[in-house]
């Protein structure tokens, strides 16, 4: 419990900053919604322009498959970026919270206390999970508050809830990816960079597979593609099988975090 509190305190400032970023991300994203939908005196709406763009370009920016003129279609586009931010936060947090004792050289302080490595990992995971939940809830609330300001009738809160739920699972995947890397790597300091590297790769894989159906098998390596936004927008909810498989992946990464960290020589 003392380690959990310590970690929450140590991460508090970063959590506030990330939360503010998340809120700004949502509000500034929504602000542009009007530009997409309404044609003005000076020109056509962005949505009209988009129709003239080649699919591959649209795919690269993430708006290949959605109708930008509808609120839920636009939300799906915005959500891609919001989810990316949340995932980066989770990956960096996961890697950092495990690696920090070694990078700050506090290993010799903490690890000679009468606690097992398993207990230390558990405390750190609990603290990290609470941080991730805060980011998730902040995002949800931001959407629920901001979207009605721009939505002309129609209620998108069902879609928003589903999207944020899927984002939570993606957050968990990247959080556990970060922890397992920090637990495994000889040089845990580098785990943050490696985790972000994997994340960015996964993000671009997600964009590239939008271009062609032949590449769809690559979606397997990109958690950003585990939950079909088209399906969510259409109001079909999440695929339970994929939810379970994703949670299994999180469980596997978490178990490996414990195993690797227990076995390893700590850097001092």
């Amino acid at each position: 419990m003392n380690i959990v509190l310590r970690e929450l305190k140590a991460n508090a400032r970063a959590l506030v900053i990330w939360s503010v970023c998340m809120f700004l991300c949502v509000i500034s994203g929504m602000y542009k919604f009007t530009a997409y939908t309404s044609a003005t005196a000076t020109g056509p709406s962005i949505n009209d322009l988009l129709k003239t763009m080649p699919t591959s370009i649209k795919a690269l920016f993430g708006f290949a498959s959605f109708d930008m003129a509808t609120m839920s279609g636009y939300l799906a586009l915005l959500f891609i970026y919001v989810e990316l931010v949340a995932a980066i936060h989770a990956a960096l947090l996961g890697a950092g919270i495990i690696a920090k004792e070694e990078s700050d050289k506090t290993t010799e302080y903490l690890m000679v206390k009468p606690v097992s490595r398993t207990a230390i990992i558990t405390s750190k995971l609990v603290a990290a999970l609470l941080n991730v939940i805060v980011i998730n809830v902040v995002t949800l609330v931001s959407f629920l508050v901001v979207v009605p300001l721009y939505s002309k009738g129609g209620n998108a809160s069902g879609e928003i809830l589903t999207m944020i739920l899927s984002m939570f699972i993606v957050q968990l995947i990247f959080l556990s990816l970060g922890t397992v890397l920090a637990a495994y790597m000889r040089n845990p300091k580098a785990s943050g960079s490696v985790a972000t590297g994997i994340l960015v790769t996964a993000y671009f894989v997600a964009r590239i597979t939008d271009m062609s159906d032949k590449l769809r098998f690559l979606n397997l390596i990109s958690p950003f593609k585990y939950f079909d936004l088209g399906r969510i927008v259409a109001g079909h909810g999440l695929n339970l099988g994929i939810v379970l498989l994703s949670l299994a992946l999180v469980a596997a990464f978490t178990a490996l975090t414990y195993i690797f960290y227990q076995k390893r020589d700590l850097n001092i």
């Binding site: 003392n2 310590r6 140590a10 700050d104 050289k105 506090t106 290993t107 010799e108 302080y109 690890m111 000679v112 206390k113 009468p114 606690v115 097992s116 490595r117 207990a119 076995k263 020589d265 700590l266 001092i268």
Partner: protein, 293 residues
């Protein structure tokens, strides 16, 4: 019962040597010295003992238990690392309270007592402290829970001589209260003053494990001779003489063997001054440390 029990401990970092076949037993209540030059493997031994790293082979136990399988034994261990690092943005008191939260005892009273003894300001931020003051924080945080085993790795670096004395008095009083002390150092003076037994480590191997008194006796004498006129350069060419420094009227050397042989030699010459001393441990140990020794 042995408080520390290290058996045939070998540790390699990949191909790099840590320690090889180290065996040490430390009995309850003793102050045990662990002496060796930098890089000899002192910290490796301690870190394996505390469960920070795993042995390649052999075992290291505290109170009969391994720290990796029984982290609970560390309830009774206080450790001062050679270099101290703490979390950012904490005050001394925050850190000490955090340390105390790991132990079952209430340490508040002891925190204040120790801070008083070590002249440590509890309200200062740790980031602002000098190296020596950080070391003091380390000493206090290693002792707040009244551990039965105190492990010290190069404890005095950064402390001024006055504070070193205070520190050794503190350790001595903990020892009187029943604590076993394991003191690792490359400074022989410290160990000479405190310890009952010592182990010498060099290039990862224990080269000597003996009672302090036995080491000092060991029949070594430091002999300094001053002659009335220049001394015969070959006069001290005899078995048992080492570290001979011979020039002009003076000669000094370490001698091990029957003291009468030296006295007979000295009787053949006119001496103006003569001293026969117990050698420093430093001199005794140099004998083991030197590459050919």
């Amino acid at each position: 019962m042995s408080v520390i029990e290290i058996k045939n401990l070998t540790k390699y970092y990949g191909k790099a040597r840590g320690v090889i076949d180290v065996s040490i037993d430390v009995e309850q209540g003793e102050i045990f010295g662990f002496i060796g030059p930098n890089g000899a493997g002192k910290s490796t031994t301690i870190r394996t003992l505390l469960g920070l790293i795993y042995p390649t082979s052999g075992s290291a136990k505290i109170f009969g238990k391994s720290c990796t399988t029984n982290p609970e034994v560390r309830q009774e261990v206080g450790y001062l690392p050679s270099e101290v690092f703490y979390y950012d943005g904490m005050r001394v008191i925050d850190l000490l309270r955090y340390s105390a939260s790991f132990y079952r005892k209430d340490c508040t009273k002891r925190i204040n007592e120790l801070a008083e003894i070590m002249d440590l300001d509890l309200k200062r931020r740790i980031d602002d402290l000098s190296f020596g003051n950080k070391k003091k924080v380390g000493i206090v945080q290693g002792l707040i829970h009244g551990p039965k085993l105190i492990i010290l790795d190069e404890p005095t670096t950064g402390l001024d001589p006055l504070m070193q004395q205070t520190f050794f008095d503190l350790i001595a009083s903990e020892n009187k209260k029943g604590a076993t002390v394991f003191l690792s150092s490359h400074i022989l003076r410290e160990v000479q003053k405190m310890c009952e037994r010592v182990a010498l480590i060099k290039d990862g191997r224990i080269i000597k494990l003996e009672r302090m008194s036995a080491l000092q006796e060991n029949n070594f004498k430091r002999i300094k001779v001053e002659g009335l006129s220049d001394l015969d350069k070959t006069i001290f060419d005899m078995p048992g003489v080492s570290k001979l420094e011979n020039g002009g009227k003076t000669a000094s050397f370490l001698y091990r063997g029957d003291i009468n042989n030296v006295i007979r030699k000295l009787a053949q010459t006119e001496v103006s001054n003569l001293s026969i001393d117990e050698p420093d441990l430093e001199e005794v140990f140099m004998h083991y440390y030197s590459k050919d020794g």
